[in-house]
Symmetry: C2
Subunit: 379 residues, 2 copies
């Protein structure tokens, strides 16, 4: 092949190799600088992540790139990826503690996956963390003694029972909180067993995320916001954002979206198995979009069946919702079996209108993501 010997090509490739060496050196320096900024901010008691400042930075970098003939999206994508690297090593250097004199945190069910994630985050923020697991209940009173927060993170079906078991254990001025994926029942129950500050939290992510940066935690008010405000502030220092919701609204939305979506994915997985679809054949034929569609189904089945049984059986809002969903299914099936293309198109347009401008937003967002998925493909 000529490319082995063409001197011009060899020279250009040598230049690219040298340039990439400069790029790596630049990256190492940038990561060090960002780490120094984070440390300085912690010393000054400032928040590490400030969205407004980030926006301003991107605007200025985009303009600078454009001025030099580099696509603004390219520099923004690269900087966002570099910044993720900084977030993911942040916990290792520690987080700011929002309290001057933090009292111990008790994690009930703290040896589960989500418990371990929180354990790391609290420890990295200077809190003493104590675990209260099933086998520790004989010592529950001494474990909870002097605690500033008792945080319950156990499977949904055990949550109410565990809350009841906490009666009298939580120091009166301590915060009692839970992280189950239903909120109305637990928040009411916590209010009944504990006279002090009460708050219900729902982390909107699984324990596999690694870092809490840019994740969302839903917050349902229980009692005495002034008493638990520090906990929300502490979660914000980990980079997560807090979204308020009334417990009942939260539960209804979760049933409709989260539980039913998992249910639909479960059904689709059983269908692929029943049809014994040749997955390797399909994957060989798949462009990024189909690979992602299939991946969103397959990823469910790499996870814990108990977790999904809990979410579906405990938070799907009664049989009514699933039944109504099946009615929609039958309506679509009827259109299909009648060969009613016009009816299909009409319904399609109705749904488009209902989604409104969000449909286009979703298309744009997911297309950008698919571009990134494609970057990783070797073809």
């Amino acid at each position: 092949m000529t490319n082995k010997t063409d001197p011009r090509l060899a020279e250009l490739r040598g230049n690219i190799d040298a340039l990439d060496g400069e790029l790596i050196a630049l990256l190492a320096r940038r990561l060090d600088l960002v780490a120094a900024v984070a440390e300085r901010k912690i010393d000054l008691g400032l928040p590490v992540y400030v969205p407004e400042r980030e926006d301003a930075m991107f605007r200025s970098r985009r303009a600078e790139a454009e001025g030099r003939g580099v696509a603004p999206d390219l520099i923004e994508d690269l900087l966002r990826r570099i910044m993720r690297e900084s977030y993911s090593t942040e916990g290792a250097r520690g987080f700011r503690c929002v309290l001057d004199d933090p009292r111990p945190v008790v994690l009930v069910g703290g040896r589960g996956q989500m418990g371990r994630l929180l354990h790391r985050a609290f420890t990295a923020s200077g809190f003493e963390v104590r675990i209260l697991e099933q086998e520790d209940w004989d010592h529950a009173a001494s474990i909870c003694e002097g605690a500033g927060l008792v945080l319950i993170g156990v499977p949904i079906h055990a949550t109410l029972e565990v809350i009841e078991a906490c009666r009298g254990l939580v120091p009166p001025e301590a915060v009692l909180a839970d992280i189950s994926s239903l909120k109305a029942g637990p928040v009411a129950a916590m209010g009944a067993v504990h006279p002090g500050p009460v708050v219900g939290l729902h982390p909107m992510f699984g324990p596999t995320v690694g870092t809490l940066a840019k994740q969302v935690v839903v917050c349902c008010h229980g009692r005495d916001e002034a008493g638990y405000g520090w906990l929300l502030d502490q979660i914000r220092t980990w980079g997560a954002s807090i979204v308020d919701a009334e417990p009942e609204v939260h539960d209804r939305l979760m049933g409709t979206v989260q539980a039913l979506r998992h249910f639909a994915t479960f059904v689709y997985g059983t269908h692929l198995m029943a049809e014994d679809v040749d997955l390797s054949r399909i994957l060989a034929m798949s462009s990024p979009i189909y690979r992602l569609e299939l991946g969103m189904v397959g990823r469910l089945f790499a996870q814990d069946p108990d977790l999904y049984a809990d979410i579906i059986f405990d938070s799907l809002e009664g049989p009514g919702l699933a039944r109504r969903y099946r009615e929609r299914f039958d309506e679509a099936l009827a259109l299909y079996e009648a060969g009613d293309r016009d009816g299909f198109r009409e319904r399609f347009r109705e749904v488009s209108e209902w989604f409104g401008p969000l449909a286009q937003t979703f298309l744009t967002e997911s297309s950008a993501l698919l571009d990134q998925a494609r970057d990783r493909l070797k073809i």
Copy 2:
């Protein structure tokens, strides 16, 4: 705020600003070098994209990064993103033409979205492109005269009729090909109307991709591979990969995966509308994973209802498949309504086993993608 005045913080930020300026300058130089390499390769008649060389390059860059304390994944992600930028501007500089003396290409239905994508690619490769649209049939004979390829890209339900209309129009030694999403019928029909080389293609992507780099095109053999081989080679120069399939296998897999998946997504969209779910509320609460799940539904409804009506009504393999899918739905509903968690978990494990190691692959892949989605979130 102290950060406005802290001199150490200001100094560090100034250093980051300066460093990002260097980064942008480096990027501009790298893009120029890659463009020069591509031009040199085209001059030498070499393929622009060589997966093995890319692999070797990543291995060496990862090792170099690790040696300097930079995460190997970080440099690989950044380089992949930079390389995408090079791919997307590649067509603008032209592609290699695999034929010494290319004859004209006729795109039947070439004013559609996919037709325009192919038009650009053929033109950028030095082919004369002629369009044969509905309104041009009076001049069809002169449009097809001297053509080296007649490529049919019309809606599925019109494909067979258009193929029949091509009888006698295609020069005997020219290639007759189609890009519809069903292959058995069109490939047989093309073989019946044309005595020369025949091949069925199915681009596994929508016209919104922008570039064909790293996309997949399924190829169903018709007749005289030696006669149409140049077309596959030409498609490969655009960066796409060709995957062979028997027409019947292709059609069955597409029905099971593509058409039924779209059908399921359509049903889910109608369900969200019927429940009148508060989308903005849901989005405010959504971490990347839920936003992506919802986005994969919503994106459908930003697209062309006719296209999806065609895919579902024409390529869903008879009512049997959709009916069997509904049986799976009813089985899951029965488990749920009976409160049979054990039955659910058992079924879940069966599906996990059926997915095998792919479930974990999908989880890992989609998690990496979600990390990227999160990079873009402002929270």
